[in-house]
Chain length 136, copies 3
C-alpha cells in the first residue's frame, strides 16, 4: 500500500466562496496511485467539501439553500465566544467537510458531471484542505 | 492490498425512487475482501446514497423531509440551462452521494437496522453507482 | 496493509446527547497505524458522527438546527411501527452516520478546532460505534 498526503491552502477574497478544486485534485493524484481512495477533507469547522455540477446557477441555488436553512447573523449561541460565524459552522454541518473519491486506472473515477468544490463559509484568512491518497 | 471495482446501473421507472441495494453490495464483496473499506458512490449529481432503516414509512418521511427542504419545481437558478431538476441536485447535497462501509471477516460490518439505499431524484434514464472495495 | 477494528459502546442518560469522542479515537489509533484512514461509523440509524468545534454554544446551535429541520413528535409515517423516534432517523440523515479521519505520522491529522462528536438522538439504551483503521 502506498500513501501520499498534501495540503491545499485557501485565502479567499470574499467571506463566502465556492471554488472548483477538481483540477488541483487531478494534478495531485497524477502518477501516484493506480487504484485506491482519495480523501479530500477541510481542516476547518467553517468550510465544506462537496461534489456537484459546475453550473453557476446551481452554485447560487446551493448558497440560497444553505442561507435559508442556516441564515447568517441570527443570534447563535456560539456568538457568546465573540465570534459572528455561527451560520458558517452550521453550513459546514449541512454540506459536510469531506468526500472520498475513487481512483481507477490512475484517474479520478467520477461521473461526467461530478466536480469537487471547496465551500468557504468564513474566509478572508488562511485555511487548509487535506488530500490523502491510499492505494497501489 | 487488494482492490475490486464494479458499477451498478439503474434506470428507474419513476422520477424519484429509493432502492435498497444492500443485497447487491453483499453479493459484490462476497469472497473478495476479508477486512477493509467499501465505497458506494453515486456517479451523478442528482442521486444519493444513504444508510437508514428499511421501513416504508420512514422512507416516506425521508422523502417528505427532502421535499420540504428542497421542493420540486421552484424557480431554481439552475433552470437557466433548460433543466427542471434543480431540486434533485439540492436533495443530492442533503442526502450525500456516498457512504464508506466497513468489511470485517468478509462481511459488511453494519448494525442490525442499517441498510444501504440508492436515492434517485431524477431518474427514468441510465445512471450508475460505483462500488470499490480495498483491503486484504 | 494493516487493519484494526474496535467498537465503542454508549448508553446515554438522556434521550439526546452529543459526546466528544476525540480522546477515545486518539487512544484507539495510538501505536497502530503511521499513515492511513480511520473510519468512525455509528452502527444505528438514530445516531450520527460529525466533526465541529467543541463549543457548548455551538453544540446547542446544532441541536436547535436539527430540531427545526426535523422536529420531535410530529406524526411521522415511521410511527406506524409503534416507534416514536422518526425525528431521530431524520436527524441521523442530516448529520450523517460516519466520518473518515486521516492518520499522518501516527496521529489524527485534524485542524486545530476539529473535534469528533457522537450524536445520540434516541439513547438510554446500548448503542455502538465502529472504529476501523487501515494503513501502514
Amino acid at each position: 500500500m502506498k500513501s501520499f498526503t498534501d495540503y491545499i491552502v485557501f485565502s479567499t477574497k470574499n467571506r463566502k466562496e465556492m471554488i472548483n478544486i477538481t483540477p488541483r485534485i487531478e494534478h495531485f493524484i497524477s502518477g501516484k496511485i493506480e487504484d485506491g481512495f482519495l480523501m479530500v477533507s477541510a481542516m476547518h469547522t467553517t468550510s465544506g467539501i462537496f461534489i456537484n455540477d459546475a453550473d453557476s446557477g446551481l452554485i447560487t441555488d446551493i448558497e440560497e439553500l444553505l442561507e435559508r436553512l442556516a441564515p447568517f447573523g441570527k443570534g447563535y449561541h456560539h456568538h457568546h465566544t465573540g465570534e459572528d460565524n455561527g451560520d458558517a459552522h452550521l453550513k459546514s454541518m449541512l454540506v459536510h467537510h469531506q468526500v472520498i473519491l475513487p481512483i481507477t486506472s490512475g484517474k479520478l473515477d467520477l461521473g461526467p458531471w461530478q466536480q469537487v468544490f471547496y465551500a468557504e463559509f468564513d474566509g478572508q484568512r488562511r485555511k487548509r484542505v487535506l488530500l490523502k491518497a491510499i492505494g497501489e
